[in-house]
Symmetry: C2
Subunit: 385 residues, 2 copies
């Protein structure tokens, strides 16, 4: 970090909620981390500091800094009806929006360009370029104080590629607009504003009185499950109470089917959380003996079949990996994205870019070294201590 930056950092002290005397201390303790290369203007919080959430970002603006709050963790209903009754007890109705299966980013405009932050507060070069083409810039000119929150969804997705949404490449589905301090717009106001600027939005699936909400959401979840969609976010329309998420058993099992190909990377927390959700949903939905058996089989198969396939692959001399794809307009994004992934510690192999129309498609092989090594060890007779 150069001398000029040191001066600037002193000014970050003026950001809301951050006592001045602590900034350099937090930087030294690596609680605040500076981004790199073209993104040196950004400093992310690697843990919670007072009211500032992990993943929040300090942005150098002129001679000072501005804080962009992190994405608040949305809590999960395990048993839907009591969770709604308990969490939303002081309001009359709830709005239900689809929770899509992709990865969420926050977008701002900075020095004339759109910048997309991941949940952890990194600037993702790929998501930034995609946002540049997917979001209407006028919005950011007209509302420079707002941050646009959305889910990046589709097959050209280097984190969670999905074909189930009818998205051809990658789209940005807005689900929140908040001030930089994290204060959300009320739901209908936000939907209207997003619509005015032509943003693609997550679907509003209904607004229900609290008394009927659990039953209606269950109907919605059943339909979403049939399409292997992920689930719903249940919101206080005024956005004063925190939203709550609830997901389908099918997405749960689809996650396991994908995740257990890399069983040693996905690990214990991943498995346990999903098992608990299945248990409670089965009880809440009063399942018949046949439905219970179906769910047990679905769970068992979601765990064991992908593990089996990975073991068989390693036996055949393959290495376990996850193949994903990106599509960019600016060829330089490819290298910047590779450096970004490598900096995060991923072991990736990029294919040569293929020109398709005015874009470049690159296949990325994410190597799961931990699962490969563990499996290989066991196949070669390693014991488990």
């Amino acid at each position: 970090m150069n001398r000029e930056n040191e001066t600037d950092i002193g000014k970050a002290a003026e950001s809301p909620g951050l006592p001045p005397f602590r900034f350099s201390e937090l930087l030294e303790k690596k609680v605040i981390l500076q981004d790199w290369g073209e993104y040196e203007d950004f400093f992310r919080f690697s843990s919670n500091v007072g009211k500032i959430d992990e993943g929040s970002v300090l942005v150098k603006v002129g001679n000072g800094f501005e804080l962009i709050q992190g994405f608040p963790k949305i809590k999960r209903a395990i048993m839907l009806a009591p969770a709604l009754k308990n969490h939303f007890k002081d309001i009359y109705s709830v709005a239900v929006e689809e929770k899509m299966n992709g990865y969420n980013v926050r977008v701002i405009e900075h020095k004339g360009e759109l910048v997309a932050f991941t949940r952890s507060g990194h600037v993702c070069p790929y998501s930034s370029e995609r946002s540049e083409h997917l979001l209407e810039h006028d919005f950011f000119k007209d509302y420079p104080e707002y941050v646009v929150y959305g889910e990046m969804v589709g097959p050209d997705n280097p984190y969670v590629p999905k074909d189930i949404y009818g998205v051809e490449s990658l789209d940005f589905f807005v689900f929140d607009i908040r001030s930089r301090e994290g204060i959300p717009l009320p739901l209908h106001e936000r939907r209207e504003l997003a619509s005015d600027y032509g943003f693609t939005q997550v679907e509003l699936l209904g607004e229900f009185e609290l008394g009927e909400a659990a039953d209606r959401i269950r109907e919605i979840i059943t339909e979403l499950g049939k399409k292997e969609h992920e689930g719903v976010i249940i919101k206080d329309p005024s956005m004063i109470l925190q939203p709550v998420k609830y997901t389908t058993s099918q997405t749960n099992c689809a996650d396991l089917r994908h995740g257990f190909r890399f069983y040693n990377e996905s690990g214990k927390d991943y498995l346990f959380a999903r098992v608990v959700r299945e248990g409670f949903q089965s009880v809440e939905w009063n399942e018949s003996e046949e439905e219970i058996k179906d769910r047990c089989l679905r769970l068992g198969e979601s765990i064991l079949r992908p593990m089996r396939e990975s073991i068989l692959r390693v036996q055949e001399g393959e290495r376990i990996r996850d193949d994903v794809r990106i599509r960019v307009k600016d060829e330089s994004t490819i290298d910047r994205f590779r450096m970004y992934l490598e900096r995060l510690g991923l072991d990736v192999i990029f294919s040569p870019p293929e020109r398709i129309g005015d874009e470049y498609v690159v296949n990325i092989r994410k190597m799961n070294r931990s699962t490969t090594d563990k499996t290989l060890g066991i196949i070669e007779g390693q014991l488990w201590s």
Copy 2:
């Protein structure tokens, strides 16, 4: 600790492998912990110290101390054939003994009475009393330097009650005899010696050349699985190489069926380890599509059905618990065992003792507060963060 003990502790320094100057330091750091009440003569190691394993015990003998090595952790074959080939490559044949499902203890004679240590090095008052009646004392008079290792098995078992072995109350199945330093007798010598003193022993299921061992053990495992028995320990007959364990899918699933009634206590490691075993066994055994499906269903049911039952119980106002039973000759063992469990942090309710013949039977309810509280919270609408 009184002044007299402090003097004695100095002498523990003379125990093999323990540098004198470290004893008081380890005691202060609680690496060595003194047992209590009538067992103040014993100090257990709460972690590994050099070549001394966690669970090892220092025993006050006369004016000095003697070390009793902990029970060595037996490593597990996940894929049987390569594990055998790799681990036992330098020997001609392996012996296979049944691995029984109970809890293992080490027994010595101290001041004329038998004392049973658990794996962690605690003296268990119940196991000590039972050993007193189950093991021939002459052995310990004739071989005071030996430690008898065995599995406590049967329904009157406060840790792992099992009806599957045809044991009426509780029996002690010897599987090892070692010197206090942990050096084992060769397998056949040990079996003969145990037989000479009328000890009950784990079954010797065969001795196989290395080349055929995996196939033969698979046949054995298939038969044991049908009876829901646990599995086998595969040993170098000379006991120079470390033994290896291998278990049946049925015991794996039976563990899950039991453990997932207390899903929040059993937890993530418990689940993950068992899932991994199932995956590799399925591949190694070259299962047909139908066998794979059966295994998936068995796994799913072993996880979800007990969870469902616990949730339903809590919904009906019950608290989740594990009911076990002990049977003692000396009524005072009951109180000493209760104090022991409470000291370990368990929440237990003892029934009034019922006299049966010359013994007392006590039902013990072990309360699973963590699972009860977690389940109750979710039923009442708590969110999962």
